[in-house]
């Protein structure tokens, strides 16, 4: 495993920010790290990068212990912190040369030119960082994170504040990087998780509440049995509940309902039978699954 956390805890002034978290991420995997503000995502990421030391538990990155091998781990990790801190008085190329110098990269010019092409900052390469738009600054932030060709990439809200076009560009870049590297990234944009991630980890109040693949999480929570249905006329909800056991019904509007079942029953077929027996035609029926956004709300509010 590229990154492994075992029972990791961290407290600030006696308050637990991270509470016995354990998870693993393998090579070529993109892990979406979700949680409400203040849940402990950034603290966890900072511990993986060795910026913060955990109070309890163990973290290993590429088989190296974060408490012992910080300098070695630094060579395996690329990090884009929240708010993308950059030296704004430096020029783009000057900044990248500075970072390359710290990593002691040998052929700096070649590496930086490749990086500039990869992140699409070519036409802005000779500008000062404070003259760049937010999207380009984000690209520069990503460029510094991958300059050492890291095995593990930690990205803390890499797409926050970007316009839709920039968002798609950055997402594509992350997807491309994720093919060969381990990527852990946090975000508030749920569609992003659905579009990019292989797995999702949800953290709330410092505790890990979900660590599953997106598909299994969705089926786990919805049971693949959520139906949105519109009848010709209103139905008697109690009557339907009598006929089909263990279902939940919520009214969307007029004769439209959202019906979910916890059992593994053929909900569509049962609803069809119900409509026939009550001579109430079905105008529209759609099976749906919960979006990650709904799952996130459901889990974090529950906890």
């Amino acid at each position: 495993m590229s990154v492994k956390l075992s029972n990791v805890s961290k407290s600030y002034s006696g308050k637990k920010a991270v509470d016995k978290i354990s998870f693993e991420v393998g090579k070529g995997e993109i892990l979406g790290f979700l949680g409400p503000n203040g849940a402990g995502k950034t603290t966890t990421m900072k511990m993986i990068t060795c910026y913060l030391a955990q109070d309890e538990g163990e973290i290993s990155v590429c088989g190296l212990d974060t408490k012992i091998s910080q300098q070695d781990i630094a060579n395996h990790i690329g990090y884009l912190p929240e708010h993308n801190p950059l030296y704004k008085d430096l020029y783009v190329k000057e900044y990248l040369y500075f970072v390359a110098g710290i990593y002691k990269i040998k052929d700096k010019t070649k590496v930086i030119n490749n990086l500039i092409d990869k992140t699409g900052i070519g036409k802005e390469r000779n500008k000062r960082i404070n003259q760049l738009s937010k999207g380009y600054r984000q690209r520069v932030g990503l460029a510094q994170a991958i300059i050492n060709d890291p095995d593990v990439l930690i990205l803390d809200e890499p797409t926050s504040g970007l316009d839709p076009n920039q968002l798609i560009d950055i997402r594509n870049l992350i997807k491309e990087l994720g093919a060969e590297k381990t990527v852990i990234f946090s975000t508030h944009i749920m569609q992003e998780v659905q579009a990019l991630c292989d797995r999702v980890t949800i953290i709330n109040d410092g505790k890990l509440i979900v660590d599953e693949s997106i598909d299994s999480l969705r089926s786990h929570l919805s049971g693949d049995n959520v139906v949105t249905i519109r009848f010709e006329s209103r139905i008697d909800i109690e009557d339907l509940k009598d006929k089909i056991q263990n279902i939940e019904i919520s009214v969307i509007e007029n004769s439209s309902y959202r019906i979910s079942s916890q059992d593994g029953i053929e909900l569509n077929a049962k609803l069809f039978d119900y409509a026939v027996s009550n001579s109430n035609r079905i105008i529209e029926m759609k099976s749906s699954t919960l979006s990650v956004e709904e799952i996130f709300q459901k889990l974090t509010l529950q906890n």
Partner: protein, 243 residues
């Protein structure tokens, strides 16, 4: 380490503040040494530049913290320290690189004052009647004072995210270390018994000694010890600030 050193130097000269700080120092020194009657070399009738070495530490109390104030305060304010700490470079190398860079900047600011040496050398009667050995010793002492102030400035800058606070704290601590022990030694509790010992804790005692042109290893060890202590304290503060 050299990358950080180079970046610090470039950052200083890419901002207007750098030139203003250097310019103000040189204009102020020029006025004091050549124009103002009370301190002017021309009024003194002696071929020395002692005025430079007695006035410069006073100006350094404000100049050096102005140069160092953003070193760590800005890094913490902008969040760039987080990245720096994650890069494969040890903390002591970051502190040392910043110390050397700021020391170099002070040296660069100090270099134009060699014009005063040349001027007095030419104005002396007979020409060249100047104790260059004593001047070299004084420059060395002045530079050591500046380096102590740089380490104070870095320590102050590591304590806060606000440049103004870093500047004020740096100036106060520099003033304290330069002169306060001199004043404290005159207190009745120390006077006559430990006043010499208390004076030795301050910079002024050792600076005066070196300024006479005698480079005593005890003075050099004092300066180096203070610098190492402050840089180490700076590292401790940086480690604590990470949380």
């Amino acid at each position: 380490m050299f990358s950080i050193y180079k970046k610090e130097i470039n950052s200083f000269f890419s901002s207007l503040i750098g030139y203003i700080v250097a310019g103000v120092f040189l204009v102020f020194m020029g006025l004091l040494m050549w124009l103002f009657v009370d301190t002017s070399i021309l009024e003194d009738n002696y071929a020395t530049i002692d005025q430079l070495f007695s006035l410069a530490p006073m100006i350094f109390i404000f100049l050096v913290p102005a140069v160092t104030m953003k070193s760590f305060a800005d890094e913490f304010k902008d969040g760039t320290y987080e990245l720096l700490a994650v890069y494969p470079i040890q903390e002591w190398k970051i502190v040392l690189a910043k110390f050397l860079a700021n020391g170099t900047l002070i040296l660069i600011i100090l270099l134009p004052t060699l014009v005063y040496v040349y001027s007095v050398y030419q104005l002396g009667s007979p020409r060249g009647n100047l104790d260059l050995g004593a001047i070299a010793g004084s420059y060395f002492g002045l530079f050591l004072v500046a380096l102590v102030f740089v380490s104070i400035g870095l320590f102050s800058s590591a304590l806060t995210t606000n440049q103004i606070i870093a500047f004020a704290l740096g100036s106060f601590l520099s003033f304290f270390l330069l002169w306060a022990f001199q004043f404290i030694s005159t207190l009745p509790i120390f006077y006559g018994q430990f006043d010499d010992l208390v004076q030795k804790l301050g910079i002024n005692y050792h600076y005066s000694s070196i300024s006479r042109g005698v480079i005593d290893s005890r003075d050099v060890i004092y300066f180096l010890s203070v610098i190492i202590f402050l840089l180490f304290s700076c590292m401790v503060v940086l480690e604590k600030r990470k949380g």
